[in-house]
């Protein structure tokens, strides 16, 4: 119920949206409710699992989809991440946000799914069929879908660490500090990986441009 308290105070927050003091209060409220949620998750409270899903599924799903480039596998990864949460939460020390922790859990599970996703894409390429649609809704324009597919294929050619760096820092727009915390490496390492990854991606996109 803790997160619902957040939604209750939302209308009031709108009135004083520019108040720093209020922002701090909301943040502190959020932290305390999150700590409570974590505590309930640790106790194996399934309602807490549902609340964690409601609060964070979109972020985890987006990360999974961006990382794997495959919507159905992303859905599987999302489920695995949340099903494992009551167990993995025991290793959560509370020094990062729960959302960040969930992304790191998803990342650990993602390695297995990534191989399947890449195999699937390669099979589609070999058979000359269309890859599994990265765009699931018809509203999204074709060009964007194609661009996303091109980038996903270029990501497939990167080493795993560099792929992680691009997805977290470029696509998800996380700071290198946060990305480094998710992966568990030094910030400088993350920046170096991103630098090399971007160079390779530029080259890959340039090759795609050539007729």
């Amino acid at each position: 119920m803790a997160l619902r308290a957040d939604s209750c105070i939302e209308p009031i927050a709108l009135d004083v949206a520019h108040s720093d003091r209020w922002q701090l209060l909301v943040a502190s409220e959020h932290r305390s409710t999150e700590a409570e949620l974590v505590e309930r998750l640790r106790r194996g409270d399934l309602d807490a699992l549902g609340e964690a899903y409601d609060a964070h599924h979109a972020h985890v799903r987006a990360f999974a989809h961006r990382f794997l480039g495959d919507e159905s596998l992303a859905e599987d990864l999302l489920q695995d991440t949340f099903v494992a949460l009551p167990k993995t939460i025991r290793s959560f020390r509370g020094d990062a946000a729960l959302r960040t922790f969930l992304i790191s859990v998803a990342l650990n599970h993602a390695r297995h799914y990534l191989r399947s996703a890449m195999r699937r894409r390669r099979a589609h390429e070999r058979l000359g069929t269309l890859p599994s649609p990265i765009v699931s809704t018809p509203e999204i324009d074709v060009e964007r879908g194609q661009l996303a597919s091109v980038l996903t294929r270029a990501l497939d050619a990167l080493p795993l660490e560099q792929r992680v760096a691009v997805v977290l820092c470029e696509i998800e727009e996380r700071t290198s500090t946060e990305a480094a915390a998710i992966v568990g490496v030094a910030e400088g390492t993350m920046r170096t990986r991103l630098f090399h990854a971007k160079r390779k991606l530029r080259e890959a996109l340039a090759r795609e441009d050539r007729p």
């Binding site: 599924h57 480039g69 099903v83 699931s136 661009l147 696509i171």
Partner: protein
């Protein structure tokens, strides 16, 4: 800005927009997650039961294979590296096998059919390719006479009853080379005359060597192949009368009895 920076940022934006975390399956996934979290996964329980059972099965069958002498055949069938060899005629006791003593092409432990016919009525018995440890104590036996059981017991039979794989036997390269010559002549070239010469040379240089028993037995087989029955009988007698304990005792007895039953050609 580099020319392809635009391409990259457009592609990044496209992927970010396309994979925005929205899905028509939000509620269905929530239900599945909660169901899966509620239901204990039977797979793990099954694994917890099955894995120890499977491990026990492999350990027991491996031990049984080693004792019954079938393990090397399984290993060969599975194309796995053979770390030790089992001598079936010795009740399947596994004996340590050292890689350097094995020639590049390991011949079969039994004779080819064509060569068996030379023995004219003498039953087939495997020649010995097994290598063993030796000790200084063993080297005190007088050359020329077969070493007694007492002389060899400590060095030869103890490692079988209490093998210590952590301590490899110390065998000189000269001894290995000498044994390898006999082995090649006997098992690879199937040249009985050359084999007898090589086994004699080995036994002259290393009368109490690590492979002295094998060399003596193989020499007897080679003599038999050459039709030198009397010498073969003399060579086999120490084995048949138990000078070397149970080592090749049954085979030697069978061979001697077969020689007595069948007249020389």
């Amino acid at each position: 800005m580099m020319p392809h920076d635009d391409d990259l940022s457009r592609a990044v934006t496209a992927l970010r927009t396309v994979a925005d975390g929205s899905s028509p399956q939000v509620d269905a996934s929530r239900r599945r997650i909660l169901t899966r979290a509620r239901t204990p996964r039977p797979k793990h329980r099954v694994a917890r039961v099955l894995l120890p059972l499977a491990a026990t099965f492999f350990v027991v069958s491996g031990a049984w294979g080693a004792v019954s002498g079938r393990l090397p055949n399984w290993m060969r069938a599975l194309n796995l590296p053979l770390l030790f060899e089992t001598n079936p005629s010795e009740g399947g006791r596994a004996t340590e096998r050292r890689a350097p003593s094995v020639p590049p092409t390991t011949p079969p432990t039994t004779e080819p059919t064509a060569e068996r016919s030379e023995l004219s009525g003498v039953p087939d018995v495997p020649c010995d390719e097994v290598s063993h440890e030796t000790t200084e104590q063993e080297r005190t036996v007088t050359p020329g006479n077969p070493p007694t059981m007492d002389g060899l017991r400590g060095a030869r039979l103890s490692p079988r009853t209490a093998p210590s794989p952590s301590r490899p036997p110390e065998i000189s390269s000269a001894e290995r080379t000498a044994y390898r010559k006999g082995h090649t002549a006997h098992f690879v070239q199937h040249d009985a005359a050359a084999a007898v010469r090589a086994w004699d040379a080995y036994l002259a240089d290393f009368p109490t060597g690590a492979f002295a028993l094998e060399a003596r037995y193989n020499r007897a087989i080679s003599l038999l192949r050459l039709g030198r029955r009397q010498e073969a009988r003399s060579a086999l007698e120490p084995f048949s009368n138990g000078t070397f304990g149970g080592y090749r005792r049954a085979e030697a007895r069978t061979l001697i009895s077969a020689m007595a039953d069948s007249p020389p050609r």
